[in-house]
């Protein structure tokens, strides 16, 4: 499983790095093709803005196997959120294809759950009714009798037992984000798409939520696409970290995070392996930003 390519860890010029990285990527994507739940094939997208066309994604390839947790990191504004909207079917790519569960994505579909940096809870609804909102759109995904029970059990799983009848304004930012995660999972989506869900939280709350994510994943296995700015978060949560290049974004580098035999704890972020992975990712980000990485041994 572990696959840190030392060629990429070594300080290299950005030109060599991008060709090397894409080579790695090509062979890994062909081998992952058959069991991919999400398969993004050569997707390009350009926005028409007031100041002319803005190409955001450039022939981006990415696949995520069923049950896999993939984190995507990349320079600010490179097109990460655009990528999530394409996968969710909220946006159509100019060219290329997004496949989900062996079907071409042509529009939104009920098998996706989303959470954003802003928890976007409806203030006029209780936490419980907020979590149950997706079931009002796609009730058939969960047996009717279990709707409320499922919402309550998800809430207790993330530590919100006793807050079911509170309004969002009565909760802290971290608690609202927990509720938003429950809402993303309530309808048993095949894929959850998380766009920097922990980005606005303080460091301690964020680390708490990382643990919550692990707990959720242990009881409710799901496939996840997580966008993040936090490299430690990506290594802590994901099975695979994809570094995107600067706009227009392509998959520049893929790092596999070894599955650990025990439940991950924060201490795992300070092992030699983890420190090494973080160093590689940091280098890749610097390359993506067009800066020569600081030398590192």
């Amino acid at each position: 499983m572990r696959k840190i390519d030392n060629d990429h860890a070594a300080p290299i010029t950005s030109g060599a790095a991008s060709s090397g990285a894409s080579a790695t990527h090509t062979d890994s994507s062909t081998q992952r093709m058959e069991n991919a739940l999400i398969d993004i094939r050569a997707v390009s997208h350009t926005f028409q803005t007031d100041s002319g066309p803005l190409q955001v994604l450039d022939k981006l390839d990415l696949s995520i196997a069923e049950g896999q947790f993939t984190a995507v990191v990349g320079p600010s504004g490179c097109g990460k959120s655009t990528l999530t909207r394409l996968v969710a079917g909220l946006l159509k790519p100019d060219s290329g294809e997004v496949w989900l569960h062996g079907e071409l994505v042509k529009g939104p579909r009920a098998s996706v759950g989303m959470a954003f940096q802003n928890p976007v809870l409806l203030e006029w609804r209780s936490i419980l009714r907020n979590v149950m909102l997706p079931l009002e759109i796609v009730p058939e995904r969960v047996p009717a009798a279990e709707h409320e029970e499922r919402a309550r059990s998800l809430l207790s799983l993330v530590g919100l037992e006793g807050f079911e009848d509170k309004k969002p304004s009565e909760l802290s930012g971290g608690m609202r984000q927990r509720a938003s995660l429950c809402r993303a999972l309530i309808h048993k989506p095949d894929v959850i798409i998380l766009d920097e869900p922990f980005g606005a939280l303080d460091a301690f709350t964020r680390e708490d939520l990382w643990q919550t994510m692990h707990a959720l994943r242990a009881t409710e296995p799901f496939t996840a696409l997580l966008i993040t700015h936090d490299l430690r978060e990506s290594v802590f949560l994901a099975d695979e970290v994809v570094v995107l290049s600067d706009r227009p974004a392509r998959a520049q580098y893929t790092l596999s995070v070894p599955t650990s035999s025990h439940e991950r704890t924060l201490d795992d972020l300070y092992t030699t392996e983890a420190v090494e992975m973080l160093a590689i990712l940091r280098q890749q980000i610097q390359l993506a930003q067009g800066r020569t990485p600081a030398s590192h041994s």
Partner: protein
């Protein structure tokens, strides 16, 4: 709690009346300059039936105009909130229309709908009061953060569903804020017609006849009744707001 909500405002009103009475008494103002609260009561007793019939006419026509403003103002607001083209097209028109002094519209309407006094009055109350509603609904809808829409749209929810479940309830606080302004405006509209083009109806007419017969206490008595009806309608809106948009109240105290 009850102390706060009921006794404090009543106390403030009493203080205000006493101050008013004293001000008139100290300055020895004659009735034609400023009537005092003690002059009002005889006016109410003398014209009690007139106050009831005219008061009712003013009230129902104001409410009818207001309802029209709610329906059409909301419809316009939704249109402008949902469609950018509609917003670009309608905004300048609405702003221009709103800028026209409504007193100038009264004679025009009197000519357009000769003799249809109720309709004239209701239409003017509507015209003067729909603008805040239309603007606030359109702003409420058009400033909805895209993520709110996306959580439902990602599940394949229809536009109507998103509107019903998210956009509409989220706009309610703005709507009620505007409605509070519109209530006062609608009263201005009704009375404008009743005073400028008296048809022998409404408190505006009572005011006008009081003016003609130089009955100054009666004029002030009319103003006070108008104020009371304004307060009444305002609190009706507040009560509706509590029921339908109570969630938007930040836990004060």
């Amino acid at each position: 709690m009850i102390m706060r909500k009921v006794l404090v405002p009543i106390f403030a009103i009493v203080v205000f009346l006493v101050f008013w009475e004293l001000l008139v008494w100290v300055n020895q103002w004659p009735n034609y300059k400023m009537a005092s609260p003690s002059d009002l009561w005889p006016a109410y007793v003398k014209y009690d039936t007139l106050f009831f019939t005219y008061g009712w006419q003013t009230l129902w026509r104001t409410v009818a105009g207001l309802l029209l403003a709610v329906v059409l103002g909301t419809a316009l607001g939704v249109l402008m909130g949902v469609s950018r083209t509609a917003r670009d097209a309608l905004y300048p028109l609405l702003v221009g229309f709103n800028a026209i002094p409504k007193a100038t519209v009264v004679p025009i309407m009197a000519l357009m709908f000769v003799g249809q006094h109720d309709l004239n009055t209701i239409l003017l109350a509507f015209m003067i009061s729909f603008f805040p509603i239309a603007v606030s609904v359109s702003i409420g809808l058009s400033t909805l953060e895209p993520e709110y829409r996306d959580i439902l749209r990602a599940l394949g929810a229809s536009k109507l569903m998103i509107f019903r479940k998210i956009a509409l309830p989220k706009t309610l606080p703005e709507f009620f804020g505007a409605l509070k302004v519109s209530v006062t405006l609608a009263f201005i509209g009704t009375n404008l017609v009743e005073i400028i083009e008296p048809h022998g109806r409404g408190l505006g007419h009572l005011f006008d006849s009081a003016k003609i017969s130089s009955d100054y206490p009666l004029m002030f008595a009319v103003l006070i009744v108008l104020a009371l009806m304004g307060i009444l309608l305002y609190y009706v809106v507040v009560a509706l707001e509590r029921i339908f948009a109570g969630w938007a109240e930040r836990g004060a105290d």
